[in-house]
């Protein structure tokens, strides 16, 4: 028995070292093959390619967001390549899955580094973004997150973001409600197990002190119990709230609206950018969403020409209406392009040199994208753009301001 075990373990050790070797082997052959393809490209166009990495969840619970970013960025890359690339250089994109897990995100980042990534568009969700930010700072690789909203996502100078930060959204929402005098008594319902929701809620309540309204009820729910909101709504109703603030995603919000209608409670509902997409929820009665307001950087029904084109191309390519994640990613790729053109970056520069140049370039560029006109960045990594408030009227989005 002992002998057999020994033989078996010897075999397994051998198999394992083989797999280790194979890992390295495939790693090196990977870089070999990719350098092979780039050299093939070199022959055809006499130039190397820009390698842009992407990280986001394409499997697991947050896959919707990762997929949207993947599609949005691919669309932008395709357009840029067809139009001749960045300064005549084509872009190659590799999008890696992180399963919305910090550890996997760092693995994905390392595997992109092996591939020879020049700049990173990612990561999509906040916690993985913070973890990747920490390692990308050490390597000095430029990163632009399309949708990482937590404050710490851009704490280092190599990181920038396209979306608003959580506190910014909460603050702007409170300001808007206060300045427009939408309500005197406000209730807030938020997801206490979600970083995005909590971040917005906290900033909202903080700013509410400076505004001319009162937060009369603040009710939390968790990801485990997000199907029944009758208790929270009843409390809001009992407190006499004229406006209910819903800083979370549209799937839960559609249930809130349905249940509020069921109990004859019709305050103003006010959401954030996660509310975008509510009209596309299957089996949802669009009439319920009438007069729903939310803050969003992007509306697919906008009259704007660039947005119309983006929505049309996206629908043709992927068969669904783009949400703000896709729009953020689309603008992100164009921002990387603009920054690279600003400094005449070439693919033969090291990622670290590219990062140093991009850091300077980012504060100088202006993008007319689908999420904002005249989008610029501050050195802190935050974008400066005006939030838009969208109101749903007759089953369609309408920009209020």
């Amino acid at each position: 028995m002992m002998k057999m075990r020994k033989a078996l373990s010897a075999m397994l050790v051998a198999a394992m070292t083989m797999s280790l070797m194979a890992g390295c082997g495939s790693g090196s052959s990977d870089t070999g093959s990719s350098s092979g393809t780039s050299s093939a490209k070199e022959e055809s166009s006499d130039e190397a390619v820009f390698k842009i990495g992407g990280i986001g969840p394409v499997t697991g619970g947050a896959a919707v967001y990762g997929e949207a970013v993947k599609n949005g960025s691919e669309l932008a890359v395709k357009e840029i390549n067809e139009a001749g690339g960045i300064n005549g250089v084509q872009i190659e994109m590799d999008y890696q899955d992180d399963e919305h897990d910090a550890e996997k995100a760092v693995n994905a980042y390392n595997s992109l580094k092996d591939w020879g990534m020049h700049a990173l568009l990612g990561t999509v969700t906040s916690a993985p973004c913070v973890a990747v930010g920490e390692v990308s700072k050490d390597d000095n690789i430029f990163m632009l997150t399309p949708s990482g909203t937590a404050v710490e996502c851009v704490q280092y100078d190599n990181a920038f973001r396209v979306c608003f930060s959580d506190p910014m959204q909460g603050l702007e929402s409170a300001k808007y409600i206060g300045e427009k005098g939408l309500a005197k008594k406000v209730a807030a319902i938020y997801d206490s197990s979600d970083v995005y929701s909590t971040g917005i809620y906290e900033a909202f309540v903080k700013e509410a002190e400076n505004q001319d309204f009162e937060v009369v009820a603040a009710e939390a729910f968790t990801a485990e119990a997000k199907t029944d909101f009758s208790v929270q709504l009843q409390k809001a109703k009992d407190a006499g709230a004229e406006l209910v603030f819903l800083p979370f995603y549209y799937t839960e919000a559609s249930l809130v609206l349905k249940q509020a209608a069921g109990m004859d409670y019709a305050p103003i509902f006010f959401g954030c950018d996660g509310m975008d997409g509510i009209l596309a929820v299957e089996g949802f009665d669009v009439d319920l969403a009438n007069n729903l307001m939310f803050m969003s950087p992007f509306t697919p029904t906008s009259e704007d020409e660039a947005i119309q084109k983006f929505v049309k191309d996206y629908e043709e390519a992927y068969g669904s209406t783009p949400n703000q994640f896709a729009a953020d990613a689309y603008d992100g790729i164009y921002a990387i392009k603009a920054a690279m053109e600003e400094k005449d970056i070439t693919p033969d520069m090291s990622p670290s040199d590219i990062c140093d140049a991009m850091k300077e370039a980012m504060v100088n560029i202006t993008i007319d994208g689908v999420t904002a006109k005249g989008l610029t960045w501050e050195a802190s990594g935050e974008p400066s753009k005006e939030p838009m408030v969208v109101k749903i009227e007759d089953g369609d989005y309408a920009v209020v301001e």
């Binding site: 002992m2 002998k3 057999m4 075990r5 020994k6 033989a7 078996l8 373990s9 397994l12 050790v13 198999a15 394992m16 070292t17 797999s19 280790l20 194979a22 890992g23 390295c24 495939s26 790693g27 090196s28 990977d30 394409v58 499997t59 697991g60 890696q96 899955d97 399963e99 919305h100 897990d101 910090a102 550890e103 760092v106 693995n107 994905a108 980042y109 390392n110 595997s111 580094k113 092996d114 906040s126 916690a127 913070v130 973890a131 920490e134 390692v135 937590a150 710490e152 206490s192 197990s193 979600d194 970083v195 909590t198 971040g199 809620y201 906290e202 309540v205 903080k206 968790t222 485990e224």
Partner: protein
């Protein structure tokens, strides 16, 4: 070498295996043959190996099923990360700080193990599985509502939100509910990880072959017989279980000090993770420490090395799991293996006889 008894020899092989792998990897890193993906995986690998070995102590040696091992890991991770974040200015020496963090993480997880073990391990049957399953989920949820901040007046606690902490200006929020702990110093290294694997193995293997270990295994094999010869059942069960929990806490410390952000999500500290660790143990062989190490390494590396296959990698991963299970445990496969290996074995036998 000849004088050594079988167990000592077998233990030595296990230690040697870890050391050989360590040297091989270090050599490859030094010569630049290791991709950055693999380098990034080295520290998590150490954590998973320790988890597998420690769970094997509960499942294989004690013969109880624990479905909350990720919960103990979570306790170790959060207590140690909390300490490190607080002490980052007070104790600038990373080595000392990390050592204290390790002790704190192990102690906290061990205490949780004792608290759970005292009532549950007195019972017969699979109650431990149920309670540990619940424990893992409870810990995850508690961490998600916990807010702790620090200012000049000391620590502030809350279970509502970070504003109700009432921090004065300049105070920092250390544990921020669902956002967890951000900015833990990155103190874990591969060398420390391997040293901790060796320490874990030393503890577990020595416990196994000690007087207490024999008592524990006697309980596993026949509780009534063990009781009849005067073995204190609860005491020995508790000993094995709390050691196992403390070691899982150590793995949590390694995990927490490898990433800049620590959040308790179903993905990393939920029951999925506990089942994953159990899979390492079952595939590697229940009661077989060496097998646990190998299974943990292979199953952690596999999905990462298959990244090139994008969406298909999870499918292939599942197929590999099934194939490994069949190869290890199906009677036909064992028969085939014995037949195939018999020649090799006979040769081996002969050579040892000749040497003797």
């Amino acid at each position: 070498m000849k004088k050594m008894n079988k167990t000592t020899k077998s233990n030595m092989v296990t230690y040697l295996m870890v050391i050989v792998i360590f040297i091989a990897v270090q050599a490859m890193v030094a010569t630049g043959n290791v991709s950055s993906l693999l380098q990034g995986l080295l520290v998590p690998l150490c954590a998973y190996v320790i988890l597998a070995v420690s769970l094997n102590l509960t499942v294989g040696i004690l013969g109880e099923l624990s479905l909350g091992h990720a919960g103990f890991m979570c306790v170790g991770a959060f207590t140690s990360a909390f300490f490190s974040k607080c002490a980052v200015e007070a104790i600038p020496a990373a080595g000392v700080r990390y050592l204290i963090a390790l002790l704190i993480g192990a102690a906290a997880a061990g205490i949780c193990g004792i608290v759970i073990g005292i009532p549950v391990l007195r019972l017969k049957g699979d109650y431990l599985a149920i309670v540990t399953l619940a424990f893992g989920e409870i810990i995850k949820n508690i961490v998600n509502i916990l807010f702790i901040g620090k200012d000049s007046k000391g620590f502030h606690f809350s279970t509502k939100d970070s504003m109700s902490l009432g921090l004065e200006d300049g105070g920092t929020v250390i544990v921020n509910g669902p956002q967890g702990i951000t900015g833990t110093p990155k103190d874990s290294t591969f060398v420390i990880g391997v040293v901790l694997i060796l320490v874990t193995l030393f503890i577990v293997l020595n416990l196994m072959h000690s007087r207490s270990g024999r008592a524990i295994m006697a309980i596993r094999d026949n509780r009534i017989a063990a009781e009849s010869v005067g073995i204190n059942i609860t005491k020995y069960k508790l000993m094995a279980f709390s050691v196992s929990a403390a070691l899982a806490g150590v793995a949590g410390v390694i995990y927490a000090h490898n990433l800049a952000t620590l959040t308790a999500q179903p993905k990393n500290f939920g029951y999925n993770m506990s089942i994953m660790i159990l899979v390492f143990v079952v595939l590697g062989g229940i009661g077989n420490m060496r097998g646990s190490i190998i299974a943990a390494i292979i199953l952690t590396l596999l999905p990462e090395l298959l990244r090139g296959l994008s969406d298909y990698r999870m499918l292939i991963y599942a197929v590999v799991l099934i194939v490994m299970m069949l190869f290890n445990w199906s009677p036909k496969a064992i028969e085939w293996r014995e037949r195939y290996l018999s020649r090799f074995r006979r040769k081996n036998n002969k050579s040892t006889k000749e040497a003797a």
